[in-house]
Symmetry: C2
Subunit: 378 residues, 2 copies
């Protein structure tokens, strides 16, 4: 194998693929990165068995030559060393060559690295997805949806299914839902012309977080394919494959109240900052509890109390408060997470009493739902 | 006590004083910050017994009013809470008030914090420095000298004196030296009109690191005063007091060879980057060893080897190589630290054989000396 590659595209690809590589793995060769040279370019592969990432560097793209002097072949290199070396090489032009004994030489400027490679034949084959059914989403939309839901997955392994985001396709709508059983985040997006036959899968939250980091904000689309136990996200130069979680995701639609007793409209950022300040004196308490109460004159009062330290209160003017007066306590962390995901200047919050879950929705009508269970203190 | 203060100068002062406050302290009140309101402004104080910092906010400075409506008094607040609160307050204008029961109210916009304060009488008195003898240094020069020497202090408590930087005043020159017994960094600066009677003190490296973070790069001067066991660095609005280390600093001047067998001139940054690359394959070895050898044609070769991983070599063109040919091994970390401190485009390195300490000096003649002990491998 031999090729000459430009440093910038190589570095971007290496960094993307590194997201799938763990230094703690039961399969030693998975601490390595597979490098394949083909006539049309280079393919880098990394995997931790849960996530596998393939990144393609086209030999020529948009009239720019990225890879030259290609002699086909493949090799596996220790990923951590390879990535550090690429990052620090002195010149844009990098020559990588391997011999029959899996010795790899990397040359750039006057620097020459000789590394012990491993036979690429020993690298596990990535699972093949036997489906042509695919769904297309704009990249930036997919990144938004992940950001608006994935934070709400459970981090506890007691109910493994809740560590994933539930993807449900129904009536031309794709719904993303995450819950840790104390709060829930959900967003619906319309999809067109689907010929996909899956109706419900659960994707590990970790996979979606890594995917979101790798996807570049641009106007390309992501092609999504699902089989029984794998999901593939594909862009022009990237294959991102994740295992799916086994098991049935709980039915969550009935958690969402369909009526409300108190309805509040207000500025998202003002509320976020007020909760953030109140949370400063709430953190000694393991629940991070702050209290919200209506005071009858169009204002809300946010308070928190930590006997050792002190007390904080702040009034905030709502655009409107309709319905019954209310006193309710909740986790400031959950509230801040939800407000950050609202993605609209104005938020509408609907309460059905101090002991019942309440709902945040963006006032701009986007189908985002953030549900939070209150804490009993009043 | 009562006053109204502007958020930006308060935040800067609080962040400076926080550098002296540790949450792990044997004296509970030292987790607090003392706030004193005087007619001419506010004084904030923090201390961890080793370092004490006082920051002054002038009521009025350069025609700008920072503090108003002052009613004199003092209080101690939990530093961590106070600093988080100041950082997140909504408005520029902040009112702070305390009552007889040490209850403190902080108001900004519609936010109100009520905190349990402590009696300022219980806060330890900072040591007084009974000396008028002082030495003045430009702030930016003091920051440079710290940066060029402090990294070489020992982090081992086996010889506590080596965890400090040695300050020596002799013949109108102030010398800063640090060594961990494997390498040494030293810089000399001329001082004028000193009426200071100290000749040698050792300042904890940690104190100088914190001081360097707080000092703002400007053209003001720092006033330095020394007593038997304390050193004070004073700027217009800052008192930075550190204890000194007890004990005799070893005599280091005889370590520096006065002749050389091989003398090399080259570009500082080129060598730094080459060593950095070579170190990538040296880190498995606990000494991080790289090798340097002259190859007889005006080039140096830098190599490193890690049997498990591979081998790296890079040639680098020297501006000049004079004297005997040389093969020498050393810690890449020490070499990189020294090169970063050289502060000159060109560096001159003088060797007196593969087993003897070698010296780096900036080619621009600045009196900086970086000494490194080689590692025996050849």
């Amino acid at each position: 194998m031999k090729f000459v590659v430009q440093r910038d595209p190589l570095l971007k690809s290496v960094q993307d693929v590194m997201k799938a590589i763990s230094s703690r793995t039961a399969i030693p060769i998975l601490t390595g990165m597979k490098i394949e040279a083909k006539q049309n370019g280079i393919v880098l592969t990394g995997s931790d068995s849960d996530i596998s990432i393939e990144s393609h560097i086209q030999a020529e793209a948009d009239g720019i030559v990225n890879v030259e002097q290609i002699e086909e072949g493949s090799i596996v290199l220790q990923a951590r060393y390879f990535s550090d070396i690429v990052r620090k090489l002195p010149e844009q032009s990098i020559e990588i060559e391997s011999d029959e004994q899996h010795n790899v030489t990397i040359r750039s400027g006057k620097a020459e690295f000789n590394l012990n490679g491993q036979d690429a034949e020993e690298y596990p084959q990535l699972p093949k997805l036997n489906t042509d059914d695919s769904l297309e989403l704009p990249t930036d939309l997919l990144k938004s949806v992940i950001k608006q839901t994935v934070f709400a997955v459970s981090t506890m392994e007691t109910r493994p299914i809740l560590t994933g985001v539930h993807l449900k396709l129904e009536d031309g709508k794709l719904n993303f839902t995450a819950t840790d059983s104390h709060r829930l985040a959900s967003r619906e997006i319309p999809v067109e012309e689907t010929n996909v036959d899956f109706s419900s899968v659960v994707i590990p939250g970790k996979s979606l977080n890594e995917l979101s980091k790798i996807l570049v904000d641009n106007d390309e689309t992501v092609d999504i394919r699902v089989t029984q136990n794998q999901i593939l996200f594909r862009t022009k130069n990237l294959y991102f494959l994740s295992r799916l979680l086994d098991g049935n995701y709980p039915e969550t639609s009935r958690l969402i109240p369909d009526q409300s007793k108190t309805s509040i409209h207000l500025n998202t950022r003002d509320l976020l900052h007020t909760i953030d300040r109140a949370s400063l004196l709430a953190r000694e308490d393991r629940n991070n509890v702050v209290k919200l109460s209506t005071n009858g004159n169009g204002m809300l009062e946010i308070t928190s109390n930590s006997p050792e330290i002190g007390h904080v209160s702040e009034e905030i003017t709502a655009d409107s408060i309709e319905g019954e007066d209310l006193k309710i306590s909740f986790s400031s962390k959950y509230m801040m997470d939800a407000l950050k995901a609202i993605d609209s200047d104005e938020v509408k919050i609907e309460f059905t009493g101090a002991m019942r879950p309440f709902i945040l929705r963006p006032a701009n009508g986007e189908p985002i739902i953030q549900l939070i269970l209150p804490v009993r203190t009043y």
